[in-house]
Symmetry: C2
Subunit: 198 residues, 2 copies
């Protein structure tokens, strides 16, 4: 109810973002209108660019603006180590820690009997392919320390046993914790102290 | 640190919105990318439209997408009653209550000796003009119940005394409270019980 149809439509769309309700959407839109030249116009342009170009990497499932993401495209990242994560938010969290120099594989979720999510609903077949075709020597299973995350890690470890070195993030990941909520130091410690899968 | 330059730029810009930090900006951008056809592209388009067209109404200071806002342009709203508010957010709050049928005048702040804001820094001269040129019969001073808000209300009342009926929002506005934080029912009650200025 700003008295203007376009502004109301903008507030309604902003209110659909996670963490924003109608009130914070109104505040955000008013702020944007006040900074329309310096913030709103560039934000709208970049949002349009990303909306037009963002897609999942055909190789690893990361989100980028081309068919193959920047990490898969970088030969410097092809060190034979793959880090398996549930989700793009987890990949971003790993990248913020800055300590992992290899490539990723984004599963797109976890196995879940309850939700009928089996290996074929995730990017698990593609992971098994990549291990064979990309001279992978180590797979780090960086899944969340939840029941479903650990079930998924064990399933993948069973499939890959004897074919590559397997490790999982070790100390620092709290029970029930999710990677995306951890600080960079904790992720760094957990990665450096990774332990071979039993 | 999404591993993609455009996505990182988008996250940085979103993190500048009030109420969003880096973490909630990342969540919002990931949500937008996942809903890029249904939410992100229309949001970017509407943001571009508003960024290109939003401006302050030359008459009242409300924000709209033309030189004269929809409220000033509507003859149905020209009932001779002007509601004076500090801020566009306050105008939006009044409109949400749906009870006021006249036009507005947005001051753009309050008088403040501390910040050297005098009448000419606000839209006060324009208000005095409008009272003369738009057959105004009543001015409702709907300023925040803060010291600066009430000082400003008394200053305006002094200028207009004897020329129009003057009233202020009465019961329901808590001491030190700001209009933009009130629920619609409280605003409705305060408006209906408005009292003549002493
Ligand atoms: Zn990739
Ligand atoms: Zn207007």
């Amino acid at each position: 109810m700003s008295s203007n149809r376009d502004i109301d439509a903008l507030i309604d769309m902003m209110a659909k973002l996670p963490g924003l309700g109608p009130r914070s959407a109104r505040r955000a839109v008013l702020h944007l209108i006040r900074k329309r030249a310096l913030l709103m116009a560039p934000l709208a342009d970049m949002m349009q660019t990303v909306a037009a170009n963002a897609r999942e990497c055909l190789n690893c499932g990361n989100i980028g603006t081309g068919d193959i993401c920047d990490i898969c495209a970088s030969s410097a990242r092809g060190n034979g180590i793959l880090c398996v994560v549930e989700d793009v938010a987890d990949l971003w969290a790993m990248e913020r820690s800055g300590v992992f120099k290899g490539r990723y594989h984004v599963l797109g979720g976890t196995l879940s009997a309850l939700d009928s999510i089996g290996p074929d609903e995730l990017r698990i077949p593609r992971l098994l392919d990549r291990v064979q075709t990309e001279s992978v020597t180590e797979v780090i299973l960086a899944l969340n320390a939840t029941v479903d995350g650990q079930t998924t890690a064990h399933y993948i470890a069973d499939q890959l046993e004897g074919r590559v070195a397997l490790s999982s993030l070790a100390q620092g990941v709290p029970i029930g914790g999710e990677l995306d909520y951890l600080d960079d130091g904790t992720i760094t410690a957990a990665l450096n102290a990774r332990k071979p899968m039993a």
